[in-house]
Symmetry: C2
Subunit: 233 residues, 2 copies
């Protein structure tokens, strides 16, 4: 019997937003794996730290900070091999994933490599999208409204075109792309509908009108543009 | 001191996907409120049933099954008044919300009415979007991919135009709109990229290629169209 790989969403950062299922799997795990930026700390591990039992084996997955394909593939190949060896020995592995495993997460690269030969179960998690809305007190979408998620690194021209395409637009991975994002939103006349959210649910969170956002936005920041006004309100 | 209204996301249906924070708030509540389709059962209450302590006061919010504005507004006005009376007496109210409170939920109508005069705290929840992806084993979006959420009731022409506008398209509230949705996807040549998911995490879930979806899709069904192939995979 080979082991099962559990891809477990941890939610946006507050350990209290871990689901009961994820908490139980982590607490009962013999082996956990977690991503970290190569050489650095693991945000995922920090969210789940209070649940990892003493003596649990931990596998660090070094996520390469590169836009090149080959080193990224090599890093995920290596991590998949290490996890596969544990699964082959009949032991389950619980892989810790920030947010949700299949929503802009590095877990999907392990999933692509291991879901053929092994059983992979996914536990969905709270995403940063609804966490930011909760912190900002901003309804995202109702009834027949549409919602579009745009990564901030997209080119300015593409952001401009896409901003018009939904009632609510969520800009993720803002960080150093904030000036570009602010320009796009201003050009569309939507600055007064845009809210900047930083470190949602992480304790030191900030919610600001976009035109008051700091120049040094961290990677874990987001901009919500809610155009709609639901007629039922 | 007036009470606090907690809008608490319960996740997609599996009680095990309730977050630790939501579970604690529900278990400790003196008063809970939950929506139901007028006269029917409450899906939200059924998700959280094992957490509601004996003796807890329960407020049923009758959600009108209407597309007319006035009766809907009257229903939410009435529910807000009932909750406000509890808050005025200094008692907190925990409002149970399917999925996430601010993502296509009726809670936002209470939020609009009560967040001015009262403190309203939101606990985000796992949405049906990532729950369906988890059940289907389908990565939603990676790196710079875009994701668009479309309500199934939108007109066919609008669905056709919008389907082209993102790498991943999530069609919610499918139900009786399935034939229209399937036509739109087929016309775009995307049927082989489309997956039908029914009752995700509810126990009797079904995951099928879109062209094998049943003619009688329930309201709690979804279609995921994932066009992308992340080049890093």
């Amino acid at each position: 019997m080979t082991g099962v790989l559990h891809g477990v969403g941890l939610g946006p950062g507050d350990p209290d937003l871990i689901t009961r299922k994820a908490a139980r799997l982590i607490a009962g795990a013999q082996v956990v794996a977690w991503p970290r930026l190569a050489g650095g700390d693991s945000f995922a591990r920090s969210i789940a730290a209070d649940l990892i039992a003493p003596g649990t084996r931990e596998i660090a997955i070094d996520v390469p900070m590169t836009v090149d394909r080959a080193p990224a593939q090599a890093a995920y190949d290596h991590a998949a091999d290490e996890i596969a060896a544990v699964l082959d020995a009949g032991t389950d592995v619980v892989c810790l994933c920030e947010g949700d495993p299949l929503f802009y997460g590095s877990f999907m690269y392990l999933f692509a490599r291991l879901s053929g030969p092994y059983r992979v179960d996914i536990v969905p998690g709270v995403t940063s999208v609804t966490a930011c809305a909760a912190v900002a007190g901003l309804p995202l979408a109702a009834r027949n409204e549409t919602l579009l998620v745009l990564p901030g690194p997209l080119p300015e021209q593409e952001l401009t075109a896409r901003l018009a395409q939904a009632d609510t637009v969520v800009l993720m991975k803002v960080g150093r792309h904030l000036p570009k994002i602010a320009r796009v939103i201003a050009a569309a006349g939507l600055t007064d509908r845009a809210v900047y959210v930083e470190r949602a649910t992480l304790g030191a969170e900030r919610v600001l009108p976009l035109d008051q956002a700091p120049p040094d936005a961290p990677y874990f920041s987001m901009v919500l543009v809610v155009k709609g006004g639901d007629p039922w309100l």
